[in-house]
């Protein structure tokens, strides 16, 4: 385990040298176990400045994009997961925040081809638009889905399903509280 940390710290220096001025002191090591990673938080406009540098320094293996919806802060958080085959699988995480009212960011598909399909997924489930992306469409969802992007936090998919298929009524099975020490879920009153 110690060796792993040393490698990541060594990597730090090479990456920091090439990063744009404003991000040189923003690289941090986070996480534990298999999730040990380097993290940089960037401005969404600088994505196409940072990604080529990251690819040059050896982070060549694109894994995916996670989108997190924060309606209380009015932002979408995009998390780019990139690993390195040259540096024994080290993980780099690039985070960026988009305004929730008009979420637009440049596509990464010219740098990492797999991002093309991950971006289609972000588009259909969260409604994020990508500049210069020619294939944004409903891909995993059905073509005739007319509702809002379903993975947004303020979309209640249970309500949509109840309205669409059960006329708004359905018998809910009572929840067994015993199994988790009697602690109740305060997530609205869905489980009551």
């Amino acid at each position: 385990m110690k060796l792993e940390v040393d490698q990541i710290v060594d990597l730090d220096k090479k990456l920091i040298e090439k990063l744009p001025e404003e991000y040189k002191d923003k690289v941090v090591i986070k996480g534990s176990g298999t999730g040990k990673r380097l993290e940089i938080e960037i401005d969404p406009l600088d994505l196409c400045k940072v990604l080529p540098v990251v690819k040059e320094t050896g982070y060549d293996h694109f894994l995916g994009i996670t989108v997190i919806d924060h309606p209380d802060e009015n932002v979408f958080e995009l998390v780019y997961l990139i690993s390195s085959t040259k540096r024994s699988g080290a993980l780099l995480v690039i985070r960026t925040k988009l305004n929730r009212d008009n979420p637009v960011i440049d596509t990464a598909s010219f740098i990492y081809p797999l991002a093309y399909y991950q971006e289609i997924e972000a588009y259909e489930f969260f409604g994020i638009k990508f500049n210069n992306h020619d294939g944004l469409k409903l891909w995993i969802l059905e073509d005739n889905w007319r509702g809002p992007p379903p993975l947004r936090k303020d979309v209640d998919t249970r309500k949509i399903v109840l309205d669409l298929y059960y006329g708004g009524k359905r018998y809910e099975r009572p929840v067994q509280w015993r199994s988790l020490g009697g602690l109740r879920n305060t997530n609205g009153d869905q489980n009551e």
Partner: protein
């Protein structure tokens, strides 16, 4: 459905109910006579909205649901979910659980590779190989039934350790299974993998260079078949893999034959890992730490080397608010290996090589897709 683009070039669908299609996906092909010019994936036939459903449910329910994401290799998805959750709780599983997890994960890999023979040997018309592989897999399913109580979805790997303690004759029983399946796999090697018809069919088909494999996001046996020695078990040394001595199976040429041979070698390596894990495993000691029901705020990324490639579970939890309760995770995202293999990798191969419609089932079979992890 056939769309005529010109006199010769037409666009046709392959799947999802076509016998040559690998599970619940369709492909849109652009063909010129027999030759496939371009291929486009049409997923979504098995979209169940797991990521949204998990936001409504407690984390112990989510674990049970996570296994459904990849039917053929469920234990690695559970393992990724468990790693991510354990990072949020900030705990390490007990020593005994680490070894049991390795044994369960490797048996899951063996079962998955044996089931893959069905998708792969079937289209080559080697039905005998399919039956032998399923016979060997049956022994592993019986073992799972005995140890975990279930045949297909086990939910045995649990945040904090393993769900139940192992039975008293765990070691003897496991060794007996290995003794039973090893000759069957040796038969498969002689009867199928070394068979001249198979070698002629799969050699030089769908070559993927190492640089391209990395660039396009390939993982697992597809990446290793191209000669890149990249295995998270060796690199990240999660659970008890750091204590176990094993080699990384890899190919040289990167064609369909090399990818198949990597899976065969991995079956032998898996059996070796299981034997070592069993001999080094502590018999006494705790098997699970009890976790508090409410998840602390935090973020966890669980990365595991599944039978098909790198599987990631990314869990984010925030303090309870209007949108999320104390027992439910705020957001769960899974990254499966299949999306890269069926989109970028397959497209690259089809565009750069002369692939006919008859080659497609062999080519797609050699990538070992599990379409549910695209749809989720």
């Amino acid at each position: 459905m056939v769309i005529r683009m010109s006199k010769r070039v037409i666009s046709i669908f392959l799947g999802p109910q076509h016998p040559g299609a690998p599970g619940n996906v369709a492909f849109k092909l652009l063909v010129d006579g027999e030759r496939v010019l371009d291929i486009e994936l049409v997923p979504g036939f098995l979209h169940r909205g797991f990521e949204k459903m998990m936001e409504y449910r407690r984390w112990d329910m989510d674990l049970v649901m996570s296994a459904r994401i990849c039917v053929e290799d469920p234990d690695h998805v559970e393992l990724a979910f468990t790693h991510a959750l354990e990072q949020i709780y900030g705990i390490e599983p007990p020593e005994k659980a680490k070894y049991v997890r390795v044994v369960v994960a490797e048996f899951s890999r063996l079962a998955s590779h044996l089931l893959w023979m069905m998708h792969f040997a079937g289209p080559i018309a080697a039905r005998y190989a399919t039956s032998w592989a399923i016979a060997a897999r049956e022994e592993i399913l019986k073992w799972f039934d005995y140890v975990t109580g279930h045949r297909i979805y086990h939910h045995y790997i649990f945040p904090g350790g393993i769900r139940w303690d192992i039975p008293s004759d765990f070691k003897e029983r496991t060794l007996k299974v290995l003794k039973h399946i090893e000759p069957l796999i040796r038969d498969l090697e002689k009867g199928f993998f070394k068979h001249p018809i198979f070698v002629k069919r799969a050699r030089d088909l769908g070559r993927l260079k190492p640089g391209d494999a990395i660039r396009l996001g390939a993982t697992g046996p597809v990446l290793r078949g191209s000669g890149v020695k990249h295995d998270l078990r060796k690199l990240l040394k999660y659970d008890a893999y750091g204590e176990i001595d094993f080699e990384i199976a890899h190919g040289e040429y990167g064609d369909a034959y090399d990818r198949a041979m990597v899976r065969l070698k991995e079956m032998y390596i898996s059996m070796e890992i299981i034997k070592q894990a069993i001999s080094k495993m502590p018999i006494d000691g705790p098997y699970r730490w009890r976790l508090q029901p409410a998840i602390p705020a935090g973020e966890g990324i669980g990365r595991v080397e599944s039978a098909r490639g790198e599987f990631i579970a990314h869990i984010i939890n925030k303090p309870p608010n209007k949108f999320s309760g104390p027992l439910t995770p705020y957001r769960v995202k899974f990254r499966g290996p299949t999306m890269a293999h069926l989109t970028t990798v397959l497209k690259h191969i089809v565009r750069n090589e002369e692939i006919t419609i008859a080659d497609l089932p062999v080519l797609i079979g050699s990538l070992d897709p599990c379409p549910p992890d695209i749809d989720r």
